[in-house]
């Protein structure tokens, strides 16, 4: 048993109480430990990715209890990929939060961030549906704290909404889990996959209800229309580094959809197979259209980024909804890209808002401000990435999604929606960019706001995320190779089931 598998959960879980209890009075110490923890997390995630890439899924049995009875963690290509993405993103976020001083605007930023990482990593690693619920709760509870970091009336108000929506979502999750347990008598995902195949015909309808309820829950997390309404209000009122970190949270929903509906309710499920794609595809396309309209109509830069994020979830879930190995590989590539693009845009929006004083992030011409040129170029890069123009990873991602939809039943619809929304997104970003950066030349005066203590570092953090997008595009060959192997692994669930329940299980 490879004990490194549990490190991404245990390390933040130990670090967070240490930060709260032992070093709560010293911000420099908190920063040091938090940054160190994230650095170790990146190293561990790289190691785990190498392990996952070189062999079959690995099982970690907590307390050495055998699989369907005890709690298990499973490391396969998909979870290793998500771990690496999370740790890289959190490293950039920690650097940004420290250097921009966001972590000193309220208390307990770093412990909450570590708890958030514990929840996210746990959700990616767990091989058990009920533990998925528990880790969802861990990451949500931490996110409530992070979202409210710094306080203020607007943030509190949005926080109440955010918590109410997610509590309702958790209730739905429990109903879905209860239904699955009532029908199958197990919650271990591998065991569930086997039991679903042998489901009695009279229980098949109940099982499908359970499966579709789960889709609803993951849809709330993934901001799928019509369950997206919590996202713009929440993210627009969230501190920027937290919003950047939350870019991975919508992906937790997408990850869960990919995991559960390929493994448990996949094509091999027989009578228990849920018509997931039929529900997901129209919802994803509407998400894409509504998100794009939001980009066009937004009156603040942060809200514009929120809607761009919703639109990117639409593209991502469109690819997921096709449920073929090629489309899933494309979805994974686009997932990595849109996480980075969303996070970079949130950080850049914050850098801009900070320098514009009372104009903040409003899309309104202001006098010119410090480092206009540099920020404009960063914004330009991130925006073409998000909109899907060459040469950055967004272009390749959309190309892969379009290519995987070729030959699908609804190909004309998917292609036209994705291509038209891309054009409209470009228009939206062009409008925002020209208002923010060009029209300030026509307005007299200059805003001289005091920059952060180390003005170079926050920009470097945002730049590092952009560099990640460049790397994703430059190394597209090997990266898509890994994603294709990941998709193949996902569509042969027997490998996963054998890894969890032993070779005799005959998945």
């Amino acid at each position: 048993m490879n004990h490194w598998i549990i490190v991404p959960v245990v390390l933040p879980a130990m670090l967070a109480p240490l930060l709260v209890l032992a070093v709560r009075h010293s911000l420099p110490l908190q920063r040091t430990f938090s940054a160190l923890g994230v650095a170790v997390l990146v190293a561990v995630a790289v190691g785990l990715l190498a392990v996952a890439a070189s062999g079959p899924p690995q099982l970690y049995e907590l307390g050495d209890w055998p699989a369907p009875f005890g709690i298990v963690l499973v490391l396969d290509r998909l979870s290793a990929l998500m771990l690496l993405l999370t740790s890289l993103l959190s490293a950039a976020v920690v650097v940004y939060a420290i250097s921009s001083g966001w972590d000193s605007r309220g208390r307990h930023f770093h412990p909450l961030l570590q708890f958030q990482l514990m929840g996210v990593n746990g959700a990616f690693l767990t091989g058990d549906v009920f533990n998925l619920f528990v880790f969802f709760e861990v990451l949500l509870i931490a996110s409530y704290g992070l979202m409210l970091h710094g306080g203020g009336p607007g943030r509190l108000k949005a926080g109440v909404q955010y918590i109410a929506v997610n509590l309702t979502g958790s209730t739905l999750f429990l109903v879905a889990v209860g239904t699955l347990y009532a029908v199958t008598g197990t919650l271990n995902m591998a065991d569930l996959a086997l039991r679903v195949r042998e489901i009695a015909p009279e229980n098949a309808a109940l099982l499908q209800v359970g499966g579709l309820l789960l889709l609803l829950v993951f849809g709330i997390k993934a901001a799928l229309v019509p369950l997206h309404f919590w996202l713009p209000g929440t993210y627009a009122n969230t501190p920027a580094p937290v919003a950047a970190l939350f870019a991975i949270m919508t992906k937790v929903g997408a990850y869960s959809i990919i995991r559960v509906y390929t493994l448990v309710f996949g094509p091999e499920a027989g009578a228990g197979a849920t018509p997931t794609g039929e529900w997901l595809l129209p919802a994803a396309l509407v998400t894409l259209v509504l998100g794009t309209l939001g980009v066009l109509g937004a009156r603040g830069l942060v809200r514009l980024v929120c809607y761009a994020l919703i639109a990117s979830m639409g593209t991502l879930l469109t690819a997921v909804a096709l449920f073929t190995p090629a489309s899933t590989a494309a979805a994974l590539y686009y997932m990595a890209h849109s996480t980075l693009a969303g996070a970079a845009l949130f950080l850049i929006a914050d850098l801009v808002a900070e320098r514009r004083g009372r104009f903040a992030d409003r899309l309104q011409a202001s006098p010119s401000f410090a480092q206009t040129g540099l920020l404009a170029s960063l914004f330009f890069l991130a925006a073409i990435g998000m909109a899907g123009m060459p040469p950055l990873s967004g272009f390749l991602g959309k190309l892969l999604v379009l290519d995987s939809a070729r030959g699908a039943e609804d190909m004309t619809l998917i292609w036209s929606v994705i291509l038209v929304t891309s054009l409209v997104t470009i228009l939206g970003f062009a409008r925002a960019g020209s208002t923010l950066f060009w029209k300030c030349a026509a307005v007299e005066g200059r805003i001289e706001d005091a920059p952060a203590r180390w003005p170079a570092l926050p920009i470097a953090a945002a730049g590092a995320i952009l560099a990640g997008m460049v790397a994703l595009a430059a190394l597209a060959g090997p990266v898509t190779g890994y994603f294709q192997a990941t998709a193949e692994q996902l569509y042969s669930p027997g490998v996963y089931i054998e890894a969890v329940l032993g070779p005799a299980s005959g998945g």
Partner: protein, 131 residues
């Protein structure tokens, strides 16, 4: 017994959803609490409803009651209790800081000039804080 439990869950869920859709924080919180009660009873019943059976296999009894849903319910109760406390405190803070307990957030669409002209006037009426 099944009918009683099922209709109980149904009544609590229906009331919970009705309250959840109200526009003020207090009914919303009560609605969430009702929903979590409903889901706890539902989880409890997923193992099948039996009376007077041991929670493990035993030679003295001719059956057993499923212990796992009870463990699940325990976890769910702890989490929902904690979260109810969080949202209650937060709703109070939001009420004290914003002066209103409406759940809706207005979009901040005003330009800088509009906002300054609003804040220049005495704005008791604009804030809409009816007790």
């Amino acid at each position: 017994m099944e009918l009683l439990v099922a209709s109980g869950i149904g009544a609590m869920t229906a009331s919970g959803i009705y309250l959840l859709l109200r526009g003020r924080t207090f009914p919303v919180i009560v609605g969430i609490a009702l929903l979590s009660y409903a889901v706890n009873v539902f989880l409890f019943s997923t193992g099948g409803l039996t009376i007077d059976m041991p929670p493990v296999l035993s030679e003295d009894a001719d059956g057993y009651t499923d212990p796992l849903p009870q463990a699940l319910v325990l976890t769910a109760i702890v989490i929902s209790f904690g979260m109810s406390a969080v949202i209650t405190i937060l709703a109070l803070r939001a009420y004290l800081e914003c002066g209103t307990d409406e759940v809706d957030t207005p979009e901040q669409d005003a330009t800088v000039e509009e906002e300054e002209s609003v804040s220049a006037q005495p704005s008791d009426a604009a804030r809409g804080d009816t007790p």
